[in-house]
Symmetry: C2
Subunit: 372 residues, 2 copies
């Protein structure tokens, strides 16, 4: 009955506000402006609240490293390179992805407010966290929100052998009436790399169909997938639809390429494997990731109340339809995450020991207070 | 050595122009205006040219039946219900989907020309053929084109038992430089229903992973899938990613729902299983399908020549990357179809005996000349 050991391995429940405050402290210590620190902390903690722990505070180390090495600029000089009533192109000056993305999505919403539609693309940015955060910003304005980003390569194109493209997520948020909003937030691969990292930390194998080695054979050891990825070896994550074309793998690959085009080719960010750039001397260079943000006014097409009612109707008809054998409910995209966020807002975010240990290490190195 | 039988079963090679002329004749005989007949014929034959035979002249019967029954209106009174500089909502008045879609995509392009972006949604329409036709219309204007439509239900949502959603395709066309354009044109299901119909006609089984029965077990007999569908029985086509959530089936289902929202909820068309409407007396009613068309000016974000060069670079880097064991090339979305179209434009479209027989039957019934 070694209770201590058991308790020591139980997740610690941390309130969102406390976790946010800790992250802000870390970013401010690294010379990030307060407003930007708040935004970045909020995006990270929102991922944990929604149960997307792979994109939550486990990522803090990535940003700390980036800011310490100088690859991420704490006080960037964001510039608008092109602008029309409906569009803009932003240079994020190698700053954190989150504040640049937050402001760019706000710009898209302002443009949509005046012109019906607003599209803002961003170059020279960094990892922006959960795609859904920005898409969901449109909901409070009764708009449809869109958020796309490219990412470091990890996905093998159909009939290819090497990872040539990122897990390139698509997020679209749509308001409903009494029902929860529709929030699609999906990697265009069978699985996000973060899920493989989580399996690795938990010492669990991954299912066949998530990743392949250089011969195209399935890999179920998550550590091997992550190693191959960090070493730039062949093999990698499969596009949604899996190997070859039989079950639609070429569709997942096509969607990933579409996201690459809209979020990186269109703004002129680094594309494909150029998202692991190196400077002339072989040292790492800034990532130059790209993003795409969009907002669409619903009432440009249809009265908002009608639209909301019909969204509720569509949602309920799907949810009320007969269930598969062994299933007791059908989910709408985003539903699980909203319910988890409600639960975790109230009860706290369960952080596993490896997360709290990592946060403590960051606090120690940076000499900021750890009070979680 | 029964050569006659063999020859009788060989596909007949028909030139695109002749096939187009025949289709125009059929539509005109059914009181469709010449301009609309030309557009509809062109969309159908373009599908055959691109090798998407499931959406080509095999579909002519569907439109003939619709026009003869009165469910499709030959000379509709298309109306613009709402309009801004960037958006429009069109009522297609139950006309053929193709001419309404062609004109709506033109409107989107005109709006994008002036305002950077143009989105046009359509309600009260019918089956519009290949989604890619309309997206590709943007290419000649150096724009990105988007085309989405909902469709009669055939896809089972994740954890559901009945088909509640269509195969709802996504098409996006993007110009390149010297390389062929990127043209994604994909059902959000593992496979389009047309592919199952083709397998059925050819007497071939379909792979496990395309469709399930009401217990969730795979169905490999295409006739059974089509029967279940036409009888409104449980079971149906799987979303991209397959059964459950393990390999991302919820993502395919989420994408299908996104297309339903943009192409049907937004314009106020019939949604989900209401796409098989019946009038009060139980007779079929017009389909009231919805579509979404978009055009985006590239030079609102980046000089066009730079964009074209980078598209070429991205395409070549993917194509030139190492190939999977047993594969000799990596395709870019749309590439196979462009090459097939080039080949078939020159050598003719191979129509199997069941297609020419069906076209002859249409010619006989309508008393139009059959000269293919």
């Amino acid at each position: 009955m070694n209770d201590n050991t058991t308790i020591g391995k139980m997740p610690t429940l941390i309130h969102a506000a406390a976790l946010r405050t800790f992250c802000v402290r870390v970013f401010e210590k690294l010379n990030v402006a307060s407003a930007d620190a708040e935004i970045t902390a909020d995006v990270l903690v929102e991922a944990n609240l929604r149960g997307v722990d792979s994109h939550g505070v486990d990522q803090l180390r990535r940003y700390v490293n980036g800011l310490q090495s100088g690859l991420m600029v704490p006080r960037p000089n964001e510039k608008t390179l092109r602008e029309t009533a409906t569009t803009a192109l932003i240079d994020a000056d190698a700053g954190l992805g989150q504040p640049a993305s937050f402001r760019s999505m706000q710009r898209a919403i302002e443009k949509a407010e005046k012109s019906g539609i607003g599209f803002v693309t961003v170059r020279n940015s960094n990892h922006y966290g959960i795609a859904g955060y920005y898409a969901m910003m449109a909901l409070q304005y009764d708009m449809i929100g869109i958020s796309l980003t490219n990412a470091n390569v990890s996905v093998v194109p159909t009939f290819g052998q090497r990872p040539m493209i990122g897990t390139n997520p698509i997020s679209v948020a749509v308001p409903a009436g009494h029902q929860l909003p529709f929030v699609l937030d999906m990697a265009t691969s069978t699985v996000a790399v973060g899920k493989i990292t989580v399996a690795h930390r938990q010492g669990k194998p991954i299912p066949e169909g998530w990743a392949i080695d250089k011969t195209g054979a399935p890999v179920t050891d998550p550590g091997r997938v992550l190693d191959n990825r960090s070493q730039g070896r062949p093999g990698g994550v499969l596009p949604l639809g899996g190997v070859g074309e039989l079950l639609g793998g070429h569709k997942g690959y096509g969607l990933a390429m579409l996201v690459e085009i809209l979020s990186a080719v269109l703004p002129g960010a680094a594309c494909l494997d150029a998202t692991y750039p190196t400077a002339a001397d072989g040292a790492p260079a800034p990532a130059n990731l790209g993003h795409f943000f969009g907002a669409i006014r619903i009432d440009a097409f249809r009265p908002l109340t009608q639209f909301r009612e019909e969204m509720d109707d569509v949602i309920l008809r799907i949810k009320d339809s007969p269930k598969a054998a062994g299933a007791d409910r059908i989910y709408i995209p985003g539903e699980k995450e909203f319910k988890e966020a409600r639960h975790r807002s109230k009860n706290g975010i369960p952080l596993p020991a490896y997360t709290t240990t990592a946060l403590q290490a960051i606090a120690r190195t940076l000499r900021v207070t750890y009070d979680l």
